[in-house]
């Protein structure tokens, strides 16, 4: 990590740590927790999208499986930790199954299969009334007490989410910088050459798919802890699309992009929903505009702009000393 990177990280950490004191209002602290949860979703989908070039439209399925499993296990009488571990394990196992199926098709068939799988999870949640409460959804009994700490109020839940988020972010950052991450990017850009070099392209993609499913499931459990409620609406195609859009909007090829995208989408959604009911149209419009005009997302776009501006400044300086311009 470069020095400016370390400074930026230190500033972000400091801001995130004191955020509840800065904003104070409980409503906005809750919104910050929500941003962190969605940022984790976006980061997890971005492991596939940004580094592996795999576009998944079934990511909300993990929210569904992990969420329902967590609620059902807790209501069945297991303690919160066991329920959470069970939920994440079950959902990760489902990710392994979904991965085997989706990776049968390269390219755009992958989108179709993940979409169909996600909708099947939604359909089961919607139809299996006895288990999931159908359209009405089910409640989670209570938030857990990790190490005996009460996280029922907004600021302490925010810190709980922040800790989980920080751990996840560290793991995903390590993942993106690891040799495995490099080979994943290789399979994205040059699958045939990677195969030639002896890499098992399928296995690299599959493991990424499962890891993305794992972090998606963790985010799903957090989602349930935050809302204490889950219904099929939360795991619809629209949710998957929103998560995907967060990653694309922020910039899929970067680590910070999905976090920025999640923050923007969550804030816009909350602000817009309090004034008008037309969130879906706006979501669609953002989708189209981002993909047509900003295919690489905000973070790389801003970096590019910054680089262009600073190079123009440099060129002016260079132009003053040398007669030939740099380009």
């Amino acid at each position: 990590m470069s020095r400016s990177g370390v400074i930026a990280l230190a500033i972000c950490t400091a801001v995130l740590l004191v955020l509840p004191w800065i904003i104070g209002n409980e409503f906005y602290v809750n919104m910050a927790s929500q941003v962190l949860i969605y940022a984790l979703f976006a980061l997890s989908i971005n492991m596939m999208l940004g580094y592996g070039g795999m576009v998944s439209l079934g990511h909300a399925g993990y929210l569904g499986i992990a969420g329902y499993a967590c609620i059902l296990a807790t209501t069945a009488g297991y303690d919160q930790l066991t329920a959470a571990i069970f939920a994440v394990a079950l959902s990760t196992a489902a990710a392994a199954l979904f991965g085997v199926l989706s990776l049968r098709a390269p390219g755009l068939g992958f989108i179709m299969i993940t979409l169909a799988l996600g909708q099947i999870v939604w359909g089961i949640a919607y139809r299996a009334n006895e288990l999931t409460g159908g359209d009405n959804g089910i409640r989670h009994p209570a938030r857990p007490m990790p190490f005996g700490i009460d996280i029922r109020d907004a600021p302490s839940f925010y810190y709980f989410t922040l800790v989980v988020f920080a751990i996840a972010l560290f793991c995903i950052w390590r993942f993106s910088r690891s040799p495995f991450g490099a080979s994943l990017m290789g399979t994205r850009d040059q699958p045939r050459r990677m195969r030639m070099l002896g890499h098992n392209v399928w296995l690299v993609r599959f493991l990424t798919f499962v890891m993305a499913g794992f972090w998606g499931s963790v985010a799903g459990v957090l989602y349930v802890y935050y809302n204490l409620f889950l219904s099929p609406h939360a795991i619809s195609l629209q949710q998957s699309a929103e998560i995907l859009l967060m990653a694309i909007l922020g910039g899929a090829s970067t680590l910070t992009g999905p976090i920025v995208g999640a923050a923007i989408i969550t804030l816009v959604k909350n602000v817009v929903s309090s004034y008008v009911e037309r969130w879906n149209t706006l979501l669609g419009v953002i989708f189209v505009v981002v993909i047509v005009f900003m295919p690489y997302g905000l973070v790389p776009g801003c970096k590019q702009l910054w680089a262009r501006l600073s190079s123009r400044k440099n060129r002016k300086v260079a132009g003053a000393t040398a007669s030939e311009p740099a380009q």
Binding site: A105, L115, A116, T281, G284, F287, I291, V292
Partner: protein, 288 residues
């Protein structure tokens, strides 16, 4: 269980399969030619149903309504292809995501224009009383829907196999580069196929209206079914879409009738089997 139950369910299944064929044949052709799953296809179907509803309550006859609503949706499909997808030529991933964005916009506009209540489309007066043969009652309208989809299938087959346009589309599906090379106007084909696919989906929406009603969420109910049809049958193949539609129609309908809680889960099984053993689908011309 009595015979009547099985007869009715079988008829429902084949009628639903016919509707699915109207939806997924266009989806499959677009996928085969342009290599993109058009995720707005479910929204086209729903839009067809709503257009049909609006025309019907203004007193228009059922069959002209179906045609007009279908063409209206077809024109929207052409606009989508010409003005948006064309801008993203070569960026297939972007094209898919744009179709998804468009489907959200269409669904939300439908919600504004036609409210959130289900809108029942009235079947033609003459087809409402059930057909009685040998003591059993058959729902006439569903038989007619089945008949229309079979005619549509035959028409599409003749179009694809016996006409110059069909030959050009098949050439494009099999080898786009070569088709371009021998002078086939591929970009015009894209528009034509989009018009055809969207029109079929729109007509399917009107035909499905009296059975399914027009309601918000119809799009996301139908889209996965079309995807599964294409995964089963194989992309770019008319026969695949035909066989796949009826398989899915049967499984889904009997699933709802016999194990309502698990209707979606039952769909999962054939999809898994096909993906594991025949990843190209039963009759696939192109790799999905």
């Amino acid at each position: 269980m009595q015979w009547q139950f099985w007869i009715i369910q079988t008829l429902n299944s084949v009628a639903f399969g016919g509707l699915l064929f109207m939806l997924s044949s266009g989806f499959s052709l677009i996928f085969g030619l342009m290599r993109i799953p058009n995720l707005a296809h479910g929204a086209f179907f729903m839009l067809g149903a709503y257009f049909g509803y609006s025309l019907l309550i203004r007193g228009l006859n059922f069959w002209p309504t179906a045609l007009a609503a279908g063409l209206g949706v077809g024109l929207i499909g052409v606009a989508l292809e010409r003005f948006i997808l064309r801008r993203l030529a070569g960026n297939e991933q972007g094209q898919v995501l744009v179709t998804l964005g468009i489907s959200f916009i269409i669904a939300d506009i439908c919600l504004v224009a036609w409210t959130g209540d289900p809108m029942p489309l009235a079947a033609p007066q003459a087809l409402r009383p059930p057909l009685r043969v040998a003591g059993y009652a058959f729902p006439t309208y569903r038989l007619v829907v089945l008949g229309i989809s079979l005619v549509a299938a035959l028409g599409l087959y003749l179009l694809m196999e016996r006409t110059r346009l069909g030959a050009m589309i098949r050439a494009g599906v099999d080898d786009m580069e070569m088709a371009r090379g021998v002078g086939i106007p591929v970009s015009r084909l894209f528009t034509t196929v989009f018009l055809l696919g969207a029109t079929l989906a729109g007509i399917g929406g009107v035909l499905g209206g009296p059975i399914l009603n027009a309601y918000p969420g119809l799009d996301t109910d139908m889209l996965p079914l079309a995807l599964i049809v294409v995964i089963l049958g194989g992309a770019g193949s008319l026969l695949g879409a035909f066989v796949g539609s009826f398989i899915v129609g049967f499984i889904y309908n009997f699933g709802i009738a016999l194990v309502p809680d698990l209707a979606y889960f039952v769909l999962f099984l054939p999809m898994v089997l096909v993906l594991v053993f025949l990843p190209q689908g039963l009759f696939g011309r192109v790799q999905i």
